[in-house]
Subunit: 292 residues, 2 copies
Amino acid sequence: MKQIDGAAVAQKVHQETRQRIEALAARGIQPGLAVVLVGDDPASRAYVRSKDKRAAELGFHSVKRELPATTSQEELLAVVRELNHDPAIHGILVQSPPPKQIDEAAIVRAIDPNKDVDGFHPVNVAKLALEDPTGFVPCTPLGCIRLLEEAGVSTAGANAVVVGRSMIVGKPMALLLMRRGKGGDATVTVAHSRSKNLAAITRQAEIVIAAVGRPHFLGAEHIGDGAVVIDVGINRIDDPTSPKGTRLVGDVDYDAVAERCAAITPVPGGVGPMTIAMLMANTVQACEQLTK
Amino acid sequence: MKQIDGAAVAQKVHQETRQRIEALAARGIQPGLAVVLVGDDPASRAYVRSKDKRAAELGFHSVKRELPATTSQEELLAVVRELNHDPAIHGILVQSPPPKQIDEAAIVRAIDPNKDVDGFHPVNVAKLALEDPTGFVPCTPLGCIRLLEEAGVSTAGANAVVVGRSMIVGKPMALLLMRRGKGGDATVTVAHSRSKNLAAITRQAEIVIAAVGRPHFLGAEHIGDGAVVIDVGINRIDDPTSPKGTRLVGDVDYDAVAERCAAITPVPGGVGPMTIAMLMANTVQACEQLTK
C-alpha cells in the first residue's frame, strides 16, 4: 500500500505557481487574490488566514477583506463589485458559509466569472460540463485529479466511483473524470446516500473518490483489492486520547482499508493541502488569462 | 417484455401542452416558437417541417425562418437577436447542424437563455447541473426521463448506466438521473467508447440508456435480465429487403435483447416522438415563465 502524500504534491504545485508568478513578474504583472470573510466563524477565519498567508508567501498581491457578521447582502455585493473592477485583483473568493442573511448563490453569480477562482459561478459550471479549458474548476476535485496523476494512476477506461453528488465535489469530480483527455476518459459512477448496494458498487471500482462528509462512511467492505482511494472527507470526531479531545478523520476508515488498497490519501495530509494549492493555481491562471 | 410506446406517451405530453396553451389563451397569451433553418440539408428540412407543423397543430404561434446555405455568422446572429427581442416568440431553436461557416457554439450563446428551449445555452447547462428547475433541459434526455416515469420505472436508488457522454444526451441524461427527487436519485454510471469491460458494466444495470449513435452497438451480452432499456439511437442502415433500401435501427439490437429485458423502447416509435413532444413542452414552459 502506498500512501499518497498530498502535502508533497501540494508543494510541487506551489513550486509551479511560483514559476508562473515569476514569468508574470518579468512582464511587470503581479497576480492578485482577494479573500472575503463575513463574520467570525473560527474555522472560516482559520481558512482565510491560511489562504492569505500562502498567497503572500508565493508572491501574490494578497488582500484579505474582513466584514462584520451583520453585513447586508447589498454591502457584500458592493464589495464584490469593487473587487470585480479592481485591476490589481485577478481572483476573488468569498469564504463559505456566509451568515444567514446572505444569499450565497446570488453572491457567487455576482463575481466576475473571469475572477471566479473557486469555480462555482454558473459560467464556470457550464464550461466544466462543456469541457472548455478556459473555465475554472472547483479546487478540491481539481486537486484530486492531480493527486491521481502524481500517483501514476491512469484514469482512461478505468472504473471510477464517486461517492457523493454535491456541486462542490461530487458532480465536478464526475465531470472531470469523464471528460476527454488526460485525467479523464474514465467510466464514472456517481453513488450517494440513496444508492442501493453501495458496497457492491464501490468494491468494483479501481478508483474510489469519497466525498460524503461522514466520518468513516466507507469501510473494508466497500473497497476492492488494489483500488486507489481518494478521501475528500475532513470530519472532526471525539477522541479522548487526543490532547484536544477530538481529531480529524476522513470519509474512509483508513486503518480498515489501507491494507487492501493499492494507494490511499491520508486525512489530514491528503486532499486538504491540495485544495489551497489548486486555489493558488487557479488564481495564477486567472491572471494569465486576464492579462494575455 | 413490455414495449414502451413512445408515440403514445408523446401524445399524452402533447395533450398536456394543449391544456397549458388553453390556460395561456384564457389570459390572452399565445406561446410562440421560432425554428431557424440554415441551408437545404434534407434531414434538417424534414425535422424543421415536422416541428413547425406540430407547433401549429397544438396552437402555438409558429414561425419558420429558412435562410440560404450561404448565410454568414453575422446574418444568422442578426436573426437570433431579432427573435430574442420579438415579444411574440418565447422559444427559439436553430436547427443543427448549421453550414460550416457558422460557429454553432457562438449562435447557441447568442440565444436568450430564457428562450433557449433546446437547453444548450451555458446558462441552462449550469442550471441543470445546479438542479435549478427554471432552466431548460435538452429535449431528448428529458423525454427519456418521462418515458421511464410513464413505464412505471422507479429511478431512486436504481443502478442506471448511460452509454455515451455527449452534451446533447449522455451528460444531461446522467445529471437528470442523479438529481434529487422524482425521476432522479439513481446511482448513475456514464460509460463510453473508451470504457473497459463495457458489457460487464451495462449487464449490471437496472436501467440502460443507449446514446452512442452506432447501430446495434449493444447486444444480448450487454443487457441483464429484467433491465429497462431506453434506446436513443436513430441510425439508418442498408436493408435490401425494404422498399427504400434502408431502414432505421437503434443503438441496441432490439431482437437480440427484447426477450431478456423487462421493457424497451423501439426504434422508430420510442424516444424519437418524445424529443419533439418535450420541445413543445419546453416552449410552453418558456412562455409561462416569460409572462408570469
